[in-house]
Subunit: 693 residues, 2 copies
Amino acid sequence: MKILFRQMVIVIIFIAVSASVFADEGMWLYNDVPAQLLKERYGFEPTSAWLEHVQKSSVRFNSGGSGSFISEDGLIISNHHVGADALQKFGDAKHNYYRDGFYARTLKDEKRCLDLELNVLMSIEDVTARVNAAVKPDANAADAFASRRAVMAEIEKESLDKTGLRSDVVTLYEGGAYHLYRYKKYTDVRLVFAPEQQAAFFGGDPDNFEYPRFDLDICIFRAYENGKPAKIEHYLKFSSKGVSDGELVFVSGNPANTSRQLTIAELEYLRDRFLPYVLQRLNSMEVMLTAYSARSDENARRARETLFGVQNSRKARDGMFAGLLDPQLMAQKQAAEQALKTAIAKDPNAKEVLNSWNLIADAQQVTSRNALEYNLLEGSNAFNSTLFNIARTILRAAEEKPKPNGERLREFRDSNLESLELRLFSEEPIYNDFEQVKLTDSLAWLVKQLGYSNPVVQKILAGRSPQERAAELVLATKLKDVSLRKKLYAAAPADVQAANDPMIELARLVDQEARAVRKIIETQDEIKRQAHAKITRARFAAEKTGSYPDATFTLRLAFGTVKGYQENGQAIPFQTTIAGLYERAASHNYKPPFDLSKQWLDRKNKLNLKTPLNFVSTADIIGGNSGSPVINRAGEFVGIIFDGNIQSLVLDFAFTDVQARAVSVNCQAIIEGLRKVYNVPGLADEIAGKKRP
Amino acid sequence: MKILFRQMVIVIIFIAVSASVFADEGMWLYNDVPAQLLKERYGFEPTSAWLEHVQKSSVRFNSGGSGSFISEDGLIISNHHVGADALQKFGDAKHNYYRDGFYARTLKDEKRCLDLELNVLMSIEDVTARVNAAVKPDANAADAFASRRAVMAEIEKESLDKTGLRSDVVTLYEGGAYHLYRYKKYTDVRLVFAPEQQAAFFGGDPDNFEYPRFDLDICIFRAYENGKPAKIEHYLKFSSKGVSDGELVFVSGNPANTSRQLTIAELEYLRDRFLPYVLQRLNSMEVMLTAYSARSDENARRARETLFGVQNSRKARDGMFAGLLDPQLMAQKQAAEQALKTAIAKDPNAKEVLNSWNLIADAQQVTSRNALEYNLLEGSNAFNSTLFNIARTILRAAEEKPKPNGERLREFRDSNLESLELRLFSEEPIYNDFEQVKLTDSLAWLVKQLGYSNPVVQKILAGRSPQERAAELVLATKLKDVSLRKKLYAAAPADVQAANDPMIELARLVDQEARAVRKIIETQDEIKRQAHAKITRARFAAEKTGSYPDATFTLRLAFGTVKGYQENGQAIPFQTTIAGLYERAASHNYKPPFDLSKQWLDRKNKLNLKTPLNFVSTADIIGGNSGSPVINRAGEFVGIIFDGNIQSLVLDFAFTDVQARAVSVNCQAIIEGLRKVYNVPGLADEIAGKKRP
């Protein structure tokens, strides 16, 4: 259940505020953990040392997931499907590490990732007052947005200059708070170990978002500094005992996005416009990628990670859509909104606060009218091409970089340029045929959405069919050459234009429209942000309970109980074993995606088949939590999140622990697998705490 | 490239008229073959005996394809993918004839198809004058439609009573002509032989609509009468020589639908509304069916034929859409329309005729506005469920049958009832889980299209989520019971209502809306029909060349040359061999869909590897021609159509023989396969003309 930033399917971001909390609900801020609640319910009091240790052991994968340090020499564990992006980029016609796995016997064999950036959260600072002070109370929404963007860029730049740390101002509670997050960055990250995909993603798409599960969804990297393994103070020790039924566990990771505090008007937009659009887009891409993959093994290799991402997104969003079509869930949402409105009636600014719902609904209408054009032109749904993304970045860099920091499009702020350049100058392989297929398909998608006669469509097609146009663009652009990218990225706008690269010229052709519609959406977001801020303040006053903001792909602490559940009258146990893996494979006659690799078949009799493989807990997670460590009271690593069950897909909108569960790999299965299936005792020893030789 | 009537994806039918003809163009009427042209170009003069022989050897599969008699004892050959519907319905959890193939060693072993109806065209009668006379010149479109429907039903009923033959009035040249087609019907059709799907559909979806090809896409049935093999006067003898490069061949089959004579306004509707909608629908179904199939072998078996049909449709329509986005094709269409308008200016009724284009464009606008609701409610896109189709037929039968024949919905006309009942009372297996998955998905599709708050959507969902509603309907309906269907089909409306079956009640719930929107579409069709009739008459006067009407799933004769083509600077040869099959499988490491069954692998050294396997010709074909015999001058069977190449997908709109080719199985490969791979000498002997023992 990885979130896919590179997918560019999620383009309108919903941000919102939080309310009162039940059961094991909550994706808590590290500077606002529910200490009282944990003490009362579980008799557990996390010390500040415990919290710092867990926080600094946690790692964010900027490609879209979570992970953690597990050795003092910089070993990091995440999911195979989080590592997939890096694995895919290593591959070529003769090597399919994503499918076949990888192991580096020595440090020298560890393979450096092409464009992977990891972040470790070092500190959080509340900068709400400074951000709000920069926005004049009577400013219109467009000016307010500009002022807010400027002050955020300024704070980030100051912090970067002062500390050398990656510095991001994060909008929480939708303007209820602005916190400055400072991260230590690792950009020299090397691949140490990945199992074959059969084991990591046993059951494939059919078993994705399902439970019981039997997956060894892990991938192990090492962080380097100055060409040597990084020395890590805070890392998690593997528990030797795994988990037991009913145990309290913590999850420290980066949930990407939730929509729990959206108003009904915003939820209706998701249900009526956003999800229908995204699902159609995903279906269309899945069919295109599946058909392309079926033509040859090499095609399948090239499209593998993209296809998995699309299928994963499709299944997640199908579940979200089903949630919004569940009359009970919507009734519950409506009742909560009504109750809050009633409670707020006592607020001195009640009228103004109540009007915030109308302002949000109106802004959502404007967003709704512009969302299609935004998704197609600014969100690049019309240009599904790596080369196009490179072209647009180069075009815009030339225009944005000369501007003052605070006036640039947000991705070009000074404090973000290093991260942007890491991706822009990636040596990731780019395949002409795959680029052409994707671009042809997305140009046809554009035609289907806006209609052939639309002037923008006509301008983009330039008198060609989508297929001809895609071929002409992909074959003529020179942007596969990274040195050319570096040259143009450093060039003045006139020199970029003089390069006369057709893909850059395509980006230029639509840039005015794309920027214009982006401005509309950003302005509506500012209106919603201000309105949500008012609702949030009134809510806090009315409810007086601890709370947490909706997910923002920043580090959060969740907690929960290791616990099975009931489904169709059956008790689903809290954990599975390695024996269960063999049974499930046999029950499907070892047919893909239920097949096992030769090493798993050959070494079955060496394994302790009773070793727990996967387990479930009530911890509150969502996409982006993939790879998050699961931690016990002692601060030990007991497992790693890799999925949620099908009932968890509504967690985007509301927490429930009746059947919804987070699914993890047990730490014991990891060690058992490394030692007995993969025969990599050195790696297992390092994880177990033995010093590297 | 089978057409899928049961798919209910194609719902708005386009009918049109024909113009002058080039090269080997033409899907000719049997009562209007281009004798002069054949004589001049090929020195071939088909005698009336030759024509009658070919016509009466040709068989229409009402499940959506073509075929031919190949023995005096009723053997019929068609494609495996045309037989797929029957093969699928025979299967159960223990038998997968569709995948694994079938052979009946004795007559007793031949398996009777559950609901397959075959038609052999016996005569054609021009009834244009009588149909037109029944429509008052000053009638409005709705009345004109009613009068036309009534007289057609009357003619059909008279003919059925008089001859006992299935009698259909076919609208040709869109009202330029109405012909009465009389068919001998076979409803006792038994399966004799099918190869495994690996051989029949070697290369699967990747190679579908591609060439070179290596497929043994055949399926052999036997027609029975009175419980015994039918005695057939007209059947095709297999040629012993196959085909040679440059040879003239004929194709006798039932092309389902072409759009060559649509006006630009109608083509733009296809491009801007119809195809984008249908492609999204197909993508969505393909993802749903693929995901369902991946869960288990048994699921895959249940969904197999449906999934193939959807993929086939998707690929065909992708090609059509690409054709309409080709500026050259559209420019050619526009130029032709303009040239025709200029030519017509000399017509005494020029003004009225020229106005016909406006009338069509206006009617198309109305159709366009109503098409979505029509597709969802009347076309059943919202109710993708076999049980729903049964329920609707029962509901409507009770209301329609008491009406006078001419006033009924056209499918309930007297002359069609036997065919309707054959399908309604089919013992085809229906699976609750598959029904639920399909119905859930299509109800969600409905929500996505009309929006959750739409009153019709709310009425249909009845306070449930799509999943809950589908489960409640599928599990509670009693319509799986064929005896109940028979009882209710014979019952009065009040008794159908008293049965209180939830699926019938769902059909009732939307029946008013469905009938209303159907009436709108049918009325617009009448307007277009009258307008097209005027254009056609004027065109014939202006052009004075022989012509043929757009395809209507009625028997047509096409002709062409056996001939390779150039692609990307390469010469693509006119035929492939069995050796090529083994080479292609090896080059894909025998991975599905490029794998070979054990018998093909084991018996390779018994085969003459030089035997021609597939060949291409310039004959003018389209979906529905699947299974059509390819015939030489001597009237012998030389091959069987099973596909068109990717360049042929634009044939829907315009004929071209530059690269577009029809793809056939060579008759020699059929005999070689039957004797040496499948080891069925009895069947091969019967086809070779030996008397059955």
